[in-house]
Structure formats: structure tokens, C-alpha cells
Symmetry: C2
Amino acid sequence: MYSSGTKDIERHIVAHLRQKRYKLTAQRLEIIRTLASERSHPGAMDIFRLVRQRLPKVSISTVYYTLEMLKKEGLIGELEFYDRDNRYDVNVSNHINLICKECGKIEDFTRELPFSSEAIEELTGFRPLGMRFEYYGYCKGCRDRRRR
Amino acid sequence: MYSSGTKDIERHIVAHLRQKRYKLTAQRLEIIRTLASERSHPGAMDIFRLVRQRLPKVSISTVYYTLEMLKKEGLIGELEFYDRDNRYDVNVSNHINLICKECGKIEDFTRELPFSSEAIEELTGFRPLGMRFEYYGYCKGCRDRRRR
DNA sequence: ATGATATTCGGAATGGTTCCTAATTAGTCT
DNA sequence: AGACTAATTAGGAACCATTCCGAATATCAT
């Protein structure tokens, strides 16, 4: 699945869009390629800058429009922040994100999660549809740099 | 602790501030009272509106300034959202928030959590300092309303 | 090739939060 | 009680990533 390579992810997304009769524009294909190869949870502006290297006339609106569409199709996940850029990820599985307060890097920590949606609903009546688990702290690199 | 009443929380916060030599203004005391009694994770604007009922001249800047100070003192927690008001909570323990997509209500779900900070650091080298666990879905009320 | 419709682009608008400055006030000291 | 001083307040401007808008363009089905 997500251990698969860049090309596989790209193909998977493109196939999905083709099947749903979305138009495969040059902008769209570049955005998808960028998402598939950048596993660092890029923000819209990161994607914009990367795509612009190949398509100098692309607009940031197009990036947002495409990300919104991919999100609606369930092909990417969005991590929303109020005080920094939102970040995007082709890993749409449930997992914990480890977010570095120093360098902003986001790592995935994929493990069995504590409470199933069913357990939550049984206990509280609340019906979970999505989740977001995050730890904030220092990544290995920044931790070691601070320690010195 | 957090099963304690409104008055206890209020007293606890005020005592902490007095000890740290913060000025106990009327605005500040009202904001604290509001936070202690509103357990619904109010936003800055909610607090502003409530406080203004008693202090009609209070400004929203003051609310933000005070919330920031209380946060720095570790007396309240802040839940930040990019697409809605940030929300504040006198419950500063680690817990899962259940956030209703329909009515915006936020409930606490306080249980043993899956991975300790120590376990995370051992496994990944990432040093967690804070966390944020959320489920998004429908609260009991909204779930039942939709079901009908 | 044509037509219908989705997509793109650029710029304007949005809105919760932060920033700025001058005026005010709580707490302290005498 | 009065004066001092540093923190706090009020009000408004600024911020800025994201969303919205309308007109131009390009994709795909036919």
C-alpha cells in the first residue's frame, strides 16, 4: 500500500481520477507527482513552488483547488494548523503524527491505535468518523542538537 | 482534581496568579470565572460575549491577552483550529477530545492513553512534549437527530 | 472539429488572531 | 492617603494562509 513506490502511488491516484472522469491537466499531474514523491508532508506553498519549477505559470489557486479535490476523493489527507501552513499526505491511513516544534518536520508513527471507533461510540454515544493524533516535541535531530 | 467544582478551579487559578504577582483586574477575574464555569470549551469570542455581559467595555484584545497569559502559566489548555475559533479548557490533563462536526461541541474522553512519551522516544528518537488526540464525528445528540 | 463543462488564473475578500500605541490601573512604597 | 511604576487595557490596524469570484482557457466525449 503505502510502502509502495512513488510511481505506484502516482498511478493509483491517476487511475482513480481517470475512472471518475476528472480532467487530467498538466497542472494536476504535476501536483500529484509532487505529492507522491514528497513524503515530508508538504504544504500548499511547498507544492506550489515545486510545481512552478516545471510549470512556471501555475497559480496557487489551482494548487488549492486540486488539493481540495484530492481530499474529497479520499486520495490524500490534510493536516490543518491555525498557525502554520496546512500539510498534505498521500498516507491516508490512521496514524499518529510526530511534529517537530523546532524544524517543522512531520513523521508518521503507524501503530495499533488505542480505541476503536466502535468502542468510543459504545462508551459515549459519540460517533467518530475521523481522527487526528499528534505528538508535539523535538525530532531526533533537533533533540540531539539541543542536547549538545 | 477536575471533578472539583467551579469555585475550586477559580480559586486555584486566582491563587496561582496572586502568588506570581499578576494584577487581579476585574476583566481578568471575569474571564477566569467564565473559563471555570463554562466546561464546553468556549472560544475567545464566547468568553468575550459572556464577560461583556458584566463588563460592557471589555475588549477582545484583553480576552486574548489574558488567555495567552493563562496558557503560559499552564492554567488552561488551548485547542487550535485553522477553520474555526480556537477553544480553551481548564482541563489541562492529557485526554482525547471528541469534536462534533455538526454542532461544534467538544467533549473530553479521559482514559489511559496508548503510548507514553517514554515509549515513543525509545522507539523513534522523537521527544514528545505535548499531545493532541481528537476524534471528529457526531455527538450523541446530532447522531440521533440525523438518524431519524 | 465542436460543444459542454471542468479547470485555471489572478486578484479581491475573508476573518480569527496578533500587533501596536496611548491611556489607565493595580499593587507597592513612603 | 498620595505618588510611583510597570503591567494591563482598549481600540483599531495589520496579518496572512486560505477561500472566493468571474472571466478566460483547455480537456474530453461525441
